[in-house]
Amino acid sequence: MRQQAGRRLDRGRRAGHPATVPDIATALAAAFGLITEGDRAVLSIVTLSLQVSFLAVALAALVGLPLGAFLAVARFPGRRPLIIAGNALMGLPPVVVGLLVYLLLSRSGPLGGWGLLFSPGAMVVAQVVLITPILATLSREVLEGLWEEYGEQLRSFGATPRLAVPTLLWDGRFSLLTVLLAGFGRASAEVGAVMIVGGNIEGHTRVMTTAIALETSKGDLPLALALGMVLMTIVLAVNAAAQLLRDLAQRRQG
């Protein structure tokens, strides 16, 4: 990755760009090259980024969405503090999450026996912790609106909260897609937590964000920026694909 991109960057520099000034045009050219040439190292980094973040979103959704729906329909003492706590947890600093997960998964920590530290699995765990509050809070917001619309009707059919939760999740699935995308965005853009628990190991736990951090550390700012552009392109593609899917499904339902 470095050699190829380096060559491209050098070409740009010979064309009159000073080597010391990070040049956005040069970075753009390098990013384009990284994508079109299908650089293998970059490809494996991209693949791992997507695997880790998709998996984290899926697992967080298993907990977060039902929790959000439950908070939307159920009324019980302690609901408001729970909602406030969820809101606050949306702003969890990734570094703190990384540190907590590190201490938990460390060989000297309580879950050390799993041997997960410095593996992709550890990064999934950290991202799940980070985005579950986001999914729960945002889905509660979305579904509360739906519940206000249909709640009366559902209750008249004798629906208990336990029955209403799956119904709401199903009816709100198109809006919930946006919630999932918000979670994916946060997970894939995050660097502090995955750096600590993954260790940024080449070919094993290096993802887009940690690769960008490493190239910045090396002072190779154009290459770092190029990788950042690749990441943006991927996130854009994922969002476009999700939107397309949503439109198609909605049209089919009329």
């Binding site: 470095r2 080597a19 010391t20 990070p22 695997q51 880790v52 998709f54 998996l55 899926a58 697992l59 959704a61 298993l62 969405l65 460390s106 060989r107 000297s108 920590g109 050390g112 041997g115 997960l116 530290l117 410095f118 593996s119 992709p120 699995g121 999934v124 999740l169 699935r173 260790g199 940024n200 190991i201 080449e202 094993h204 736990t205 490493l214 910045t216 550390s217 090396k218 002072g219 190779d220 700012l221």
Partner: protein, 274 residues
């Protein structure tokens, strides 16, 4: 969503399962990683032994912590006193010396403290402190940070008196610290390897080098498997033996950027007293 998780769950199991092949984890310094040394020598090691080596590079202080906690099999760092304390406390060892390079005092070409070409690092630091010229410190308990603090002590100075003013502790790796120094036209102590590989130098130049006290020795230790039974001691020892062998030492010597050698193997010579 349920369909997604059904496909995703085997993936979750597959991700950690990849770690089961023969591999070791090495905790090391930002200088060995960010200079590109590991990317150069580890493929040769894997070809020779079939063992994959994974490197995490948080800096010497944290790398030793990672070893203490049993989260790495081998520690390769550069702070002899800290390494000897690590071994003495029974966390690993024995310590073997592997290679050296040297530190360089880097600063802006305009050189406001007029230290260029000095042959005495202490005198250079004294002039920087007198001028209250900007100095970026790693501030992260790394090997380079420890070396920097030793140099200040040798100069009879306490730089923390300039804290919040001209003495700036960034608490980051060598690369980010160099980025900061480049942006602020400040002085900084760097290991030569990272400096050679560093691409964002702007106005920074090497101003003081080649002094005895700027010597930088790297040592390697196996984490004590008696403390942490899951440590891959056999594979870790294979790595250390390879690193100290002719093949490993030649791989280190063969790493060059622009024709310049970054690290000098010295496992076969007695370790210089620093």
């Amino acid at each position: 969503m349920i369909a997604l998780s059904r496909r995703a769950l085997p993936l979750l199991l597959a991700l950690p399962a990849r770690a089961q092949s023969s591999s070791i984890t090495i905790a090391s310094t930002t200088s060995t990683e960010q200079s590109g040394l590991f990317s150069h020598i580890l493929p040769s090691f894997r070809d020779a032994t079939g063992i994959a080596a994974r490197v995490i590079a948080p800096g010497t202080g944290q790398a030793l912590d990672v070893g203490r906690r049993g989260d790495a099999d081998v520690v390769l760092v550069h702070d002899r006193p800290a390494e000897e304390a690590f071994v003495a406390a029974g966390f690993g060892g024995p310590r073997r010396h592997v290679m050296f390079n040297d530190f360089v005092l880097v600063g802006p070409a305009t050189d406001p403290a007029a230290i260029a070409g000095l042959s005495d690092a202490s005198e250079a630091l004294r002039r920087i402190a007198t001028k209250r010229a900007g100095f970026v410190s790693r501030g992260d308990r790394s090997g380079t940070h420890a070396a920097e603090l030793r140099l200040w002590r040798l100069a009879g100075l306490d730089p923390t008196m300039g804290r919040g003013n001209w003495y700036r502790e960034v608490g980051q790796g060598m690369g980010p610290a160099l980025n900061t120094a480049a942006a602020q036209d400040a002085y900084i102590l760097s290991d030569r390897g990272t400096w050679i590989a560093f691409r964002n130098r702007q106005a920074l130049r090497i101003l003081v080098e080649g002094e005895e006290r700027l010597f930088n020795q790297y040592g390697v230790m196996l984490v004590n498997p008696a403390r942490h039974p899951h440590i891959r001691a056999a594979e870790g020892q294979v790595f250390i033996d390879w690193l100290l062998s002719d093949a490993g030492q030649q791989a280190i010597a063969g790493y060059r950027i622009g024709g310049e050698q970054l690290f000098f193997p010295n496992a076969r010579q007695p370790e210089p007293v620093s």
